[in-house]
Amino acid sequence: SISIQVRINQSSSLSSSIIHVLFSVPRNYDPTLHPFEVPREYTRALNATKLERVFAKPFVGSLDGHRDGINCMAKHSKSLSILLSGSCDGELKLWDLPKRKCVRTIQAHDGFVRGICSRFCGTSFFTVGDDKTVKKWNMETPGYGEREEPLSTILGKAMFTGIDHHQKDATFATCGQTVDIWDEQRSSPVRSFSWGVDSFSCVRYNPVETELLASCASDRSIVLYDMREATPLKKVVMKLRSNTLCWNPMEAYFFTCSNEDYNLYTYDMRRLNAPVTVHMDHVSAVLDLDYSPTGREFVSASFDKTIRIFRKDGGHSREVYHTKRMQHVICVKWSADNKYILSGSDEMNIRLWKANASEKLGLLSPREKEAHNYNQKLKEKFQHHPQLRRIARHRHLPRDIYKQRRELKEMLGSRRRKEKNVIKHSKPGSVPVVAERQKHVVNVE
């Protein structure tokens, strides 16, 4: 029994099977003795769905302490418990997430802190601000009596609006009037890309193909770069401006951008003439998004005071989070263990949410785990049944968002109807049927 105990400690999956072998009561699986399998499972699925809705309490906690709206956030690349956030008054805070406490406050910039990124090794981080500087900071809190000072400061020619660090090398990219690639050791950019645009709002490294970059520009375009090349690669101009973008961390060639037209668009970088998926549901401009580390889902923050979770190939969101007090959500992050979502909003708070609203936090016993898996499976199995669908899809929305949604729906519906009518009443073939995906790209250069 001692050896078994040791094994049990080693791995839970093994232990559950051992427990089963040891303590299971033999029973008869003859199907005639257990009739009505489908109705019984259906009932179980229904109950599981209902319970899921009952237990859907995604809000975990909020981190308050900033004295202005939160403008940017960054995850620590090696630690799950540290979060960096920068606010509109140039203040930067380091948070201890398990304790929900601010551990360090730095007055980093004059004006907004525009961007933060953590170095891949997790020993330092970079910030850019409205004061045209890029600052490198030590992740360690300075000792007693030491002043809070950046490790290095680079004064740029123009304002920086975003920063991102390379996945492996000591280089980082900033955007402002141009997209610049910097070597950490140098005070001038190694390379700077510009393509007839005067300002960029976001630049992101591809976490998989680490030499690739993408940026959102103010001329409604998304520009792709390769760090090794002298020129940018490609540019897509859309109907409205994209605010931010994020690469899928598991699928190298997909990225999603959050657009001013309330939608998000997932592109395949090899076929930019139309997005792969259009994600609709927000009722106002989408300001930020972040992929889950599994690359299966992403979370988006919107000006409409909600955050939504989309499946990477789902046209509509699977989840919407909101609270009474949460204002325009400006930045959002998905934690590196795929369990939590962090949102920073206008009203100076950072909120911590569960990525899976009804998930039980903490350690689960093997039986709990099995029951959970079984319930999930049942829900998946009966997901197309109307009752289950209705219950699983039901969400409460604040009144104004609900109204806006309805309004938007009506507008879209009428537009669609008109299109249909035009097609119906014109010579066949003269008015082309344009798919939704085709409607949003203006030009690819």
Binding site: S17, V208, L212, A230, T231, E251, N373, L378
Partner: protein
Amino acid sequence: PSVISATCFYSKRAAVVSAMEEEEEEELTLGDENIISASEDEGASDDERKHIKLLEAISCLGGKKRKKLTERSEASTQVSEFSVNAEGEGEKVKLSDLLGKMEKTPKNLNKTKKQLKDLEKKSDTLELPLSRQEKEKIQREVAYVKTSTEVSRWESVVTQNRNAEQLVFPLIQEPSGPKRIEQVVSGWKAQTPLEQEIFSLLHCNLQPTHDPVLTPVEEASLKAMSLEEAKIRRAELQKARALQSYYEAKAKRERKIKSKKYHKVQSKAKRKEFLKKFEDLCKTDPQAALEEFKKMELLRMEERMSLKHQNSGKWAKSKVIMGKYDLVARKAMQEQLEMNKDLTQKLVVPSEDEEQEQEEPKALPDFVNDPEPVGDPANPWMRGQLSAEALGPEVSHEVEQEEEEEPENEEEALLREFEQKRRLRQSEDKGFEPVVSEEQEDPVDEAENREAEEELSEKGEKDDEDGLAEFKNLFNRLVEPVILETGEEQGDEGLEEGLVRIHSLDDTELLANDHEASLVEPVPSDTSNMEASACPPSKNSKKVKVIDPSEVLTKQAKVIKVPHAPMMVEDEEDLDEQTTIIKEAFAGDDVVSDFLKDKRKLEEDSMPKVVDLTLPGWGEWGGVGLKPSRFKRRKFRIKPAPLPPRKDQKLPAVIISEKRNAALAAHQVSYSHLPFPFTKPEQFERTICSPVGNTWNTHNVMRKLTAPKVVTQMGAIIEPIAKDDFIKDKNPSKPQPNLQLTKDSSLAKTVCSMEMKGGKKLPR
């Protein structure tokens, strides 16, 4: 320039360089007037020069001799850095000068010459270089294509991950189990002398002490093969092994074949092939042929040494004795002798193969080595066997006939006869006794069989035993059903409807329905059809049921008749044909009666059934043979209230389904809204029907069925998918400077080519 042109003459580029030089010079000559003024200026800079000289002198004092820069001492426009004076400066170099040089150079420079001549001929102007925008556009395009192909390498990984049954994140798991202390404790150093000694040893062997537990060599070997490649490789190996085993099995089988003839044919073919190959080899590669020839010679020598064909073996001796009485044995002996002669001659016969060597002489008839004595009809043993085969007088008769036909071929015929007998015996041994017994019962079959056997015997020369056995097998299979059928036919008549096979209770119900339907059926024409269709799989029903369209669709038949009337007059046969065609087309299409049947069945199914809830043994005695009392049965028998009349009761041609239950509809997936991949409700139902819970499945099965698609670990950081782990670099990309270089060189090339095009503009 002449020196330069002489030195770098051998490349394509050289021409261009010299050409460029010429251009330069042209410019220089144009600016000749300025030179004078420049020389005047020299005086002014005299002081400066003196100063430099002084500095040089001082530096020389130090003992070290610096390499002196050559001073420009003459007023020439061109001074090279290697202090070569520009002789004949100011002259123009013409292409013809270059060509003159070329003629002197010994080696083949035809290509360069030609190029230069082409240059002379051409009169194109240089193309304008591309504008910056256009150039960038091209660069962008190229770079984009490059990166997108690079990125596309992820495609397989992405699809694999998407289709994976389960993905466990983080994708690269840390190896479980105990870790070495160096991995856990960072910054640990060997301190004691013992430790230091050990570590020095480890270092000697390149055994890593810290992070990687594996040596570089091991790591390299691990990295050398990705999982997929390993799988592919394994599959290949498996296939190869399987093929090998097939081949081995085949070889074994072939080796086991006792037929001498088979081996003879085989070896003959081999020999032929070998000869052919050898001839070819002689033509193409005499060296190899010679070697081959030597090998053959060696084999032959060995053969000769072995004394195999010297008529001294046991078999040969026996043949000598037999030869007195047996023609065949004599023949065999002769062949043996011939072989011997062949071998002892000093002629080269490129024939020996290893397999061949192992064999006994091939010229022998196959049966010679058989254990049973053959040929003596007086032998009682033989007689017994022959009679068992029931291969009576006919065969022998035929043989006799053959003998009459071909008297000169007597021996062969005899041989064949023996062979036939032997084969028959063998096939019998392989288990065809039952057929034989049936033959005895049924004279017709026997005759057939015999015919077949005769066919076989005729074919016999070519076939080996295997082929024969196969044929026999097939034949038997053909014969048996015939027997069965005839048997049935004998049984016949009374079985007609009695033979209906009832598989289940449902079938009986169906039957009853049909019977009732046929009774109730109002249309007389239908009843006949019903009856026809009501008798299911009897023997007759095997035939295609032909329905007379006139019987089923009476009205239509009338309508059709009108337009066809005149045609009928023309040709009656034609009409017959048409009706048959119609009949065939509607064969088995008994629509109306089918519909009626369906409706009736539905109605009956929807009728509420009486439920009997009687429990025997409750409140009274129970046991075998005891029935619950009538009172009790009546009490627990629940008669349901009759349903409201059906909606389609008075609509004979309509079935209105009354299955839909509004209360249940919320829990049912409607047919019109089937989820995406499904096209038929049955498919969807099937997915729903199999339960996944542990009420119906064993624990392990349930665990497998309910395994989640994505598994994450609590507190584990999920890093983005890493290129090094998933994509193997087949041709590792060169480092950046290299890339730069190649780009430059390519640019230079384009420049070159452009210059070459415009070369004509050079002045003569």
